[in-house]
């Protein structure tokens, strides 16, 4: 059982204060908890929300899904993506862009990381691809709590990152005593996410510390780095966190496959004007929208 509250720096965040999820989104989350959920009902609710609909179609049509024909119906998207990814899309949509608390770049970074993770998972024969892509979509969920409850500290964090050229994780640890990975893990426990998704959130910066899911967590670690290397990132957080070399053991042929992976990654980027904007925007790792 997760503890009833989490101390972040001097701030006490309680379970009862956690971010709320819009009621339609909540309704869908409740429905897909049932293993025998109705695809029709879920599709109908998603179709009413054009943001969710477009995200479902974007993800299912990304090259990481490797489908030959474009999927145009939300219903087919729901079937192909499965309950876990639908849950990930809804949670990330609700949390990353709640009104007045936008996290610029968070959805794009999360989507891009998830799509690259999907490519890597296919290449390295990981069978839990749906959970992996969901974990990748939610890997930075701890930043939502920081943004929501520590508004002043967020400003200091951005300043530290800029003036000291330090990566965000290190700045968080120095200022608050814990990073977004640890904070996100608490949320994942409160919301009872599957173990592999909890591990991805907790260890995506240090996959060598995970016990059971080294391959999956390594994949998200590398996907996160590639996404940042391309400048597709949360705009106060341009710096890459140090590489964990356990990735080279988890993905043995990665050095030889890197050019192919990057070529496929560019296909994901070129298919999406929002992502292209980061690369051709010509700004310092920040969104130019």
């Amino acid at each position: 059982m997760p503890s009833e509250y989490l101390m972040i720096g001097e701030k006490r965040v309680e379970i009862k204060d956690l971010p709320t999820i819009p009621s339609v989104h909540n309704q869908i989350l409740k429905i897909i908890e049932d293993i025998n959920y109705s695809v029709e009902e879920v599709s109908w609710l998603i179709e009413k929300d054009h943001v969710l609909s477009s995200k479902v179609l974007k993800l299912v049509n990304s090259p990481s899904y490797g489908l030959n024909n474009k999927v145009a119906s939300v219903r087919r998207g729901v079937i192909l993506l499965g309950a876990n990814l639908i849950r990930g899309i809804i949670l990330s949509t609700s949390l990353f862009s709640s009104k007045g608390d936008e996290l610029p770049g968070m959805w794009d970074h999360s989507y891009c990381t998830s799509a690259i993770a999907g490519l890597l998972a296919r290449r390295f024969n990981l069978i839990t691809i749906e959970e992996l892509m969901t974990g990748a979509l939610l890997h930075d969920i701890g930043k939502v709590l920081l943004k929501q409850y520590l508004k002043d500290e967020i400003v200091y964090l951005s300043d530290i990152v800029k003036t000291k050229s330090m990566n965000m994780l290190e700045a968080e640890k120095r200022l608050l005593g814990k990073g977004h990975d640890e904070i996100g893990f608490w949320l994942a426990e409160v919301w009872n996410f599957p173990p592999i998704i909890k591990d991805i959130i907790r260890y995506h910066h240090v996959p060598s510390e995970t016990k059971d899911n080294i391959k999956a967590v390594s994949i998200v670690h590398l996907a996160d780095i590639i996404s940042k290397a391309l400048g597709i990132t949360y705009d106060a957080d341009p710096y890459i966190v140090p590489f964990d070399k356990v990735c080279l053991e988890a993905m043995e042929t990665i050095e030889n496959d890197l050019a192919d992976i990057l070529s496929d990654t560019m296909n994901i980027v070129e298919a999406d004007p929002a992502l292209q904007n980061y690369i051709h925007g010509g700004c310092n790792g920040q969104k130019n929208s």
Binding site: P63, G66, L67, N68, N69, K70, S165, M166, N167, E170, I225, I226, K228, A229, L230, G231, P238, Y239, I240, V241, P242, F243, K245, C247, L248, I254, E255, L258, A259, D260, L262, S263, D264, T265, M266, N267, E270, A271, I279, G282, N284, G285
Partner: protein, 93 residues
């Protein structure tokens, strides 16, 4: 390596990375010498990027882009794999 659009390719260039269409189907394997026929097929299949052998022409935009990539990697540690990734990313963007 350098990244080009099919329109900017001239016959005789060597393919450095396997070309896929936007759906992910493999069109041509790396290592082949490109001909007019390859180029027109890539245009027909709406391929956007092709990575060929050879180094990129110098231009100020490219230099600025490379500086940004160096900046992002400045905190990534010095593992040889990160150096390789950084240099390859520069070729691809």
């Amino acid at each position: 390596m350098r990244k080009l659009t099919p329109e900017n390719i001239t016959p005789g260039m060597m393919l450095a990375v396997t070309v896929k269409d936007p759906q992910g189907n493999i069109l041509f394997l790396k290592g082949i010498e490109l001909t007019e026929r390859h180029i027109s097929i890539m245009q027909g299949r709406k391929v956007k990027n092709v990575i060929v052998e050879g180094s990129a022409d110098d231009n100020p935009d490219k230099e600025k882009q490379n500086q940004l990539i160096d900046l992002r990697f400045s905190t990534a540690g010095s593992h040889p794999f990160m150096v390789k990734l950084r240099d390859m990313i520069k070729e691809f963007v």
